[in-house]
Amino acid sequence: MAKYDYVPSPFMANSIVKWVDHRLPIFTLIDEQLVKYPAPRNLNYLWNFGSLAGIMLVVMILSGIFLAMNYNPSTAGAFDSVERIMRDVNYGWLIRYIHMNGASMFFIVVYIHILRGLYYGSYKYPREILWWLGIVIFLLMMATAFMGYVLPWGQMSFWGATVITNLFSAFPIVGEHIVLWLWGGFSVDNPTLNRFFALHYLMPFVIAGVVLLHLWALHVHGSNNPLGIDAKGPQDKIPFHPYYTVKDAFGLAVFFIIFAYFVFFSPYTLGHPDNWIEANPLVTPPHIVPEWYFLPFYAVLRAVPDKLGGVLLMFGSIAILFLLPWLDTSRVRSARFRPAYRVFFWLFVICCLALGWAGAMPAEGVPLLVGQVATVWYFLHFLVFLPLLGWFERPLPLPASIAEPVLGGGKAGMVAATKPMEKA
């Protein structure tokens, strides 16, 4: 952990706190990492989304555990047990709406969190492992949400599961065996539903474990900040509490208002009505779509007319994120000082939205073409534009320190023209 001039908080003098802390230094941990923990003084609201994601994980685990108390993981009983949760279980509807819409909120939060990282270059030295752990969390979240969506055993649950598990059959030789193994039978069926439930229950706790590693890595070098330059000393930092605890709490309140709007007034906007039809292995719905948060990847999958090619490209679209710290050759972190990258960043956002739109449409005509163009752009962005930008772009002058533009009226700091980012 980062060492700083740590002065214990007053509560550390309490005799009970001292007694416990001497045996298990949990109060020291809290005080050092959450209370006195020095954070850059200039974090904006985009830095709220990490704590929002953590809180969403807690919300999902709590609502999920209470759902599991009334859920029946069998093909004969799953659909009815979810209906029972909705109609007969006291506040079952509320718990389920929280869980259903919570998954969507969780993904919105994490997508913003990731885009924040892209914009401010948070994946660069020395935060590469922090970035990797984030992608691992994202992958685990996708697996969790995918398996969760199978549980209510509606038509989209069943056919989504069928299509996605069949992706693995694209791999030569082993593909068919993998699919049989995933299913535990010859189609998506009772054994599949059972294991998906077991894993859906487990994975969020695995995510929680990786989140701890993510935070550990974060606290070694501390948060990046909107300027993307390293803190030079204590004048660049403020203690986490009360400054960021209050800022996080305020953001959380705003976020919960939006979340509550969906839960209470619009619980189905983000879902698909076909999931109110019980799974039928003999009838495929005319138009299978995954949940909205998977649509961009679904569009990549369908952009190529070749089965294996589509599957590889889809996995590749996430795998490429692991290489990002090296594909981006610029030494300046924040897009604020990268005029060209800023343009490409927004084009990339548009590209992802276009993929999402194309993924929701039938794969033909204009949507297919849009999906293909956006897929090409997606990969060009990482493989060509980012490496080249680092060479050709002329970054704006970086301020000399975080405190200077804030405290020193700005001008003085701007003198340190195009000094390359310091690697402290």
Binding site: T165, G184, F186, S187, P281, L282, R302
Partner: protein, 189 residues
């Protein structure tokens, strides 16, 4: 290091062979190999527990009575949790399937190798792309551009022999293993 002539033996070294290895190296390696093999074998038990279980495998055959299926009609039965299409083909459909043996097929296979009796076409009704059930069983269904089946999920067209003709699916609709137990009954699986 043990000094020459001294009796002290540093922990973990034991008596050395001239080439520098010790008996303890052997113990480390053999114990490690033993534990590693055990871990892999135990791991396999857990992984294999997720493969289809004995009861699932035991349910793997279905009998179908063909007598009530009129010419031109098709029925769907369930086998291993999947739909199986049984189509009583018309003379035109058979002729078309044979004629198409010469067409450009993505997954070439003559019609004769896909049927036991030309009038009875038996297929696993699962699109070889990503597993949707193609349309074409009901008279009102879209049958695609080749008169067989059409998969709405990503647009695969199958012909009157269940062969893939156009679209993302890589292979023909699979023919399950089946046998005629008498003239009007088949056992699938």
């Amino acid at each position: 290091m043990a000094q020459p002539g001294s009796t002290t033996i540093t922990e973990g070294e034991g008596r050395k062979h001239p080439d520098g290895t010790t008996r303890r190296d052997f113990l480390y390696l053999s114990a490690g190999a033993f534990a590693g093999t055990g871990a892999v074998l135990t791991g396999w038990a857990f992984i294999h527990s997720m493969n289809p279980a004995a009861d699932v495998l035991a349910l793997a055959s279905t009998e179908v009575n063909l007598a009530p299926i009129a010419v031109g009609q098709a029925i769907t039965v369930t086998w291993r949790g999947k739909p199986v299409f049984v189509r009583h083909r018309t003379a035109e459909e058979i002729a078309k399937a044979k004629e198409d043996d010469k067409a450009a097929l993505p997954d070439p296979q003559p019609d004769a190798r896909r049927v036991q009796k030309p009038e009875w076409l038996v297929l696993v009704g699962v699109c070889t792309h990503l597993g949707c059930v193609p349309l074409g069983q009901k008279p009102s269904d879209a049958k695609g551009d080749f008169g067989g089946w059409f998969c709405p999920c990503h647009g695969s067209h199958y012909d009157t022999s269940g062969r893939i003709r156009r679209g993302p699916a890589p292979a023909n609709l699979a023919v399950p293993s089946y046998a005629f137990t008498n003239d009007t009954t088949i056992r699938i699986g």
